[in-house]
């Protein structure tokens, strides 16, 4: 073999082997493969994108990609403005209903570790139940009127109940045909391009994770659910993952859905499952 041919062949072979195993982001949207394989494919894809990033680091979102930003984050977390909402939530959580009971009576272990398993699929009603819905179900069971989604009290309670799982890995279950159907519908919503700008959630949070959109780093979808409700400087407030979905829908010029709509719940179910194994940290702090 001629000398100059060797490097060309080596390069060609290396190129081939990479191409054979590379996971393309648009192939992750297949809604026939089921939850386990979906999670595996997402982990494989992100491992190829960021070979040196361990899974637990995805809890940091965009901060995982910039040491300077991470330093700012650590400073902000020493006094997270979101903690004010957290203590509001604790006050509400500890206050008694008219019947003398509290929220803690509705949950196993007083609510500790509960949020890590939400959203969950209720096989009786055949729908995804979120933490917010569980709070209202608790109120109803105790003769109280439901809180409206997006209200300050609801957000504070969602934040406090979320924080009772801090340090525990997200552990959302998708078992049975009804649950899988809801999961796949959430996945379809995630990959569906929409709005005047024609972007899907995946366009940014899968394809371009870790890159810059203007001067902001795009966070990967894996890990996003683990820090919501979160404090966002852009909001100057704590709010929920579904509020963020509304914001994304508006930004791409699409019609946002109502909080706790079927689509948003299925989407939250799908996204939370993708964060399985990543430790909860509520309320988070984001730019």
């Amino acid at each position: 073999m001629k000398k100059w041919l060797v490097p060309i062949v080596v390069v060609a072979l290396a190129g081939n082997s990479i191409a054979a195993n590379a996971v393309n982001w648009w192939d992750l949207g297949n809604t026939k493969v089921g939850p386990e394989q979906t999670l595996q494919q997402f982990h494989e894809y992100f491992k190829q994108q960021f070979p040196n990033m361990p899974l637990e680091k995805y809890a940091l979102g965009a901060y995982a990609f910039s040491p300077q930003l991470y330093a700012q984050y650590q400073e902000a977390m020493q006094f997270n403005p979101g903690d004010l909402t957290l203590s509001e939530g604790q006050k509400l959580w500890d206050s008694k209903f008219k019947n003398g009971k509290t929220y803690a009576s509705c949950y196993p272990d007083g609510g500790k570790g509960v949020a890590a398993h939400y959203p969950m699929f209720d096989s009786k009603t055949k729908q995804v139940v979120t933490i917010g819905m569980s709070i209202n179900a608790c109120r109803k069971a105790n003769g109280e009127a439901p809180l409206s989604y997006g209200s300050q009290d609801m957000i504070a309670l969602q934040t406090y109940l979320g924080s009772l799982s801090n340090g525990m890995p997200v552990d959302v279950q998708v078992k049975g045909p009804g649950a899988v159907k809801a999961f796949e519908e959430g996945k379809a919503y995630f990959f569906m391009k929409r709005g005047q700008l024609n972007f899907s959630c995946a366009s940014c949070h899968v394809a371009y994770a870790g890159k810059y959109l203007r001067d902001q780093i795009i966070s990967p979808v894996v890990g996003q659910s683990a820090h919501f409700p979160t404090y966002r400087a852009a909001w100057s407030a704590v709010n929920t993952l579904q509020k963020r979905m509304e914001g994304c829908d508006k930004k791409v010029g699409a019609q946002p859905e109502k909080l706790e709509s079927v689509d948003y719940r299925n989407l939250e179910y799908f996204m939370s499952y993708l964060s399985n194994g990543i430790k909860m940290n509520v309320p988070g702090y984001r730019p």
Partner: protein
């Protein structure tokens, strides 16, 4: 005397030729204001907002999800051959590249056809 006259005539012909050349150049190349208008549209967050994804000469806080423009090693002229094809691409990128992650600026009426032509004039001028 004859020589003098010939020189004058030569100057006049030369001048006329130069004027014709300038006129021809003006009709083939876009007016400078078109390039300027295109640049303004490309930088405007509420319009083209090209900087959200692409670095452009002189742009600040540019994103990097798309290639920096003009692309290294391939000019807009080489890539699109004609400015009309560039306009068609900006109007509906998925038609040319099925996995393009780029807004359909014309098809979805983000920009008007005239605005797209101005952006194309601007991009065409990048070297």
């Amino acid at each position: 005397m004859n020589a003098h006259r010939r020189t004058r005539a030569g100057i006049l012909t030369g001048l006329a030729g130069a004027l014709l050349l300038v006129a021809a150049a003006a009709s083939a190349a876009p007016a400078v204001n078109n390039i300027e208008a295109g640049r303004a549209l490309a930088f405007d967050r509420a319009k083209g907002n090209c900087l959200a994804c692409h670095a452009l000469p002189g742009g600040t806080q540019a994103g990097d999800v798309g290639p920096a423009l003009p692309m290294k090693g391939v000019t807009f002229q080489q890539m699109f051959q004609t400015k009309e094809k560039l306009v068609a691409f900006l109007s509906d990128p998925e038609k040319l590249f099925p996995y393009a992650n780029m807004p359909e600026f014309g098809k979805n009426k983000v920009l008007t056809h005239q605005e797209l032509e101005q952006v194309a004039d601007y991009l065409w001028s990048l070297k």
